[in-house]
């Protein structure tokens, strides 16, 4: 266990009985959100930071669940005493979004009206619905106004949505490697991922839990495609180059991975498909594709941000081609034009979109320098 971490943490479950109406029109009668907290909430409840997770993320952002855990939470590089999101100053809340597959109500939960898993019938959730559910969690925890809401990638989209939907409920919004909407190329990659899942015979029209199959191959393929978009060309070149797999016994059939990058992608795909739910993947990619921060203002980003009253930090990474620095610049320019306080840095990093999860010195310096102004 790495001692540079918040240590042993455990998840909590909040139950909500007041129905939540989704933007698609459907209503979820009762639901649960699983979350973790790090640090102490002060008496004024003014030092809380909400972490919004990305596509395949969850509530376990920092620390370890047990001393046997090999890996800490997914954002342990940024959350700890002395790290940018300093848990000696802040009370950090991280949850699994609705529709997720790590404990919050989602497609693997039981649909009370059928007694069966929701499966493909879980309501199509949008980013706005996640934010509404997060606002309920804030009420539940007694937090009227977040000191900051922070997210990378799809998480950054949730943070921005908060700034427009609940402007009085956050003081700072930190948007990392995100965009105001997806490009056609982004959607195209998500569509390949979805087709991979949908065309797996084990998918059974989404009822795989009921019939006892799993679209393992499809989900693995989906992850492989996604994973390529998280890395940069340079990152792949540095890590794998054209190195071949060690060959024993001259087995070089075309089905056997021959290059190290193939083997790596297969490993990532297999790992992911053993822990993630295919219906959740479909839901999350759809929410991502449909996200458009400016939809409520006729496509006018400047008009949209005029409704925000918090301060913003926007960060991008030089080799990120999934949500490129140009997408972050659009956010910054709209904020400047809307005369909203904004800081921006483009971090030089080889690692592509994944850089937002990695301990890149300048990234952590800028992040820490900004958060030092956030009053508790």
């Amino acid at each position: 266990m790495d001692h540079h971490s918040v240590g042993i943490v455990s998840p909590h479950t909040a139950q909500f009985s007041e129905p939540l109406q989704f933007s698609c029109g459907e209503t979820l009668g009762a639901y649960e959100l699983v979350y973790e907290t790090y640090g102490e909430l002060n008496a004024a409840a003014s030092n809380a930071i909400l972490i919004c997770h990305a596509l395949s993320g969850h509530h376990h952002a920092a620390g370890f669940h047990s001393t046997e855990d090999r890996k800490p939470g997914w954002w342990d590089t940024c959350i700890w005493p002395g790290k940018p999101i300093d848990t000696t100053r802040f009370f950090v809340v991280s949850l699994n979004n609705l529709g997720g597959c790590h404990g919050s109500t989602g497609p693997t939960s039981i649909n009370p009206s059928t007694g069966q898993p929701w499966g493909p019938d879980f309501p199509q959730v949008r980013v706005e619905d996640w934010v509404d559910a997060q606002a309920r969690l804030a009420d539940y925890l007694g937090i009227d106004c977040w000191a900051a809401i922070i997210g990378g990638s799809l998480g950054g989209m949730q943070a921005m949505t908060w700034a427009l939907r609940y402007p009085e409920r956050l003081r700072h919004c930190v948007v990392i490697a995100a965009a105001m909407k997806l490009s056609a190329q982004n959607i195209a990659f998500n569509e390949i991922a979805r087709r991979a899942i949908l065309s797996d015979p084990g998918f059974a029209d989404g009822h795989y839990l009921a019939v006892g199959t799993q679209p393992t191959q499809g989900l693995a393929l989906a992850r492989m495609v996604g994973h390529i978009t998280y890395l940069s060309d340079d990152a792949m070149a540095n890590r794998f180059g054209r190195e071949l797999q060690p060959q024993d016994s001259g087995d070089s059939g075309s089905a056997t991975p021959q290059f190290q990058v193939e083997s790596y992608l297969r490993y990532q795909g297999t790992q992911f498909s053993s822990v993630f739910d295919a219906n959740t993947y479909l839901l999350m990619t759809r929410a991502l594709d449909h996200f458009d921060l400016t939809a409520g203002s006729g496509g006018d980003a400047v008009a949209a941000f005029r409704g925000a009253s918090c301060k913003f930090l926007v960060l991008s990474f030089s080799t990120d081609w999934r949500f490129a620095p140009a997408r972050s610049r659009e956010i910054v320019d709209a904020l400047l034009a809307a005369q909203r306080p904004v800081s921006y840095a483009e971090i030089l990093a080889d690692e592509g979109h994944d850089a937002f999860l990695l301990p890149i010195p300048r990234y952590l310096d800028v992040f820490r320098a900004y958060l030092s102004r956030v009053e508790t």
């Binding site: 301060k311 610049r329 910054v332 320019d333 400047l336 034009a337 005369q339 306080p341 904004v342 800081s343 921006y344 840095a345 483009e346 030089l348 300048r362 310096d365 800028v366 320098a369 900004y370 030092s372 102004r373």
Partner: protein, 196 residues
Amino acid sequence: MRQDLTHILRWIKPGARVLDLGCADGEFLALLREQRKAVVTGIEIDPDAITAALARGLDVVEQDLDGGLANLPDQSFDTVVMAHALQAVHYPDQVLDEMLRVGREGIVTFPNFGQWRCRLHLATRGRMPVSRFMPYSWYDTPNIHFCTVRDFESLCRQRGIRILGRDMIGTETGGARLARRWPNLFATTAIYHISR
């Protein structure tokens, strides 16, 4: 605090929206915020300077001035300041135009290359001046567009830029009076308050 920066303060109205082009570590913006209650934003390209300015609690946007200011709307700031950066950009004339498009007023400071020491250095040694104020060799200097007080005022005339006020900084020993009287010969730093 650099002398030219304290001179600028009096031209900034209380509560003004101020943009600083090339804000470095934000020392001046922090002063403006404190003494003028100004709403300040900095533009900077140097990574360490950006971090330092962020740590002061300032809003800083990473942006290359040589890429222009097209992302900023017309007249969106009361004052746009550019201290000791005019000589380091690729197109000083265009940057001045852009400053006065984005801001109602501009404040520019630059080292005066017409100062007698520069002239003497060039005249007697036949080498590009290297001094405490301009400590770079010609081949690795960020300062690629040196000008004199007269050069600057001539450019303002050509471009229809009004000079609302000017101030000059001379050498420590009695240089202030000389610099105001004969700026092109004695000013080490020129400070201009401009508008359209």
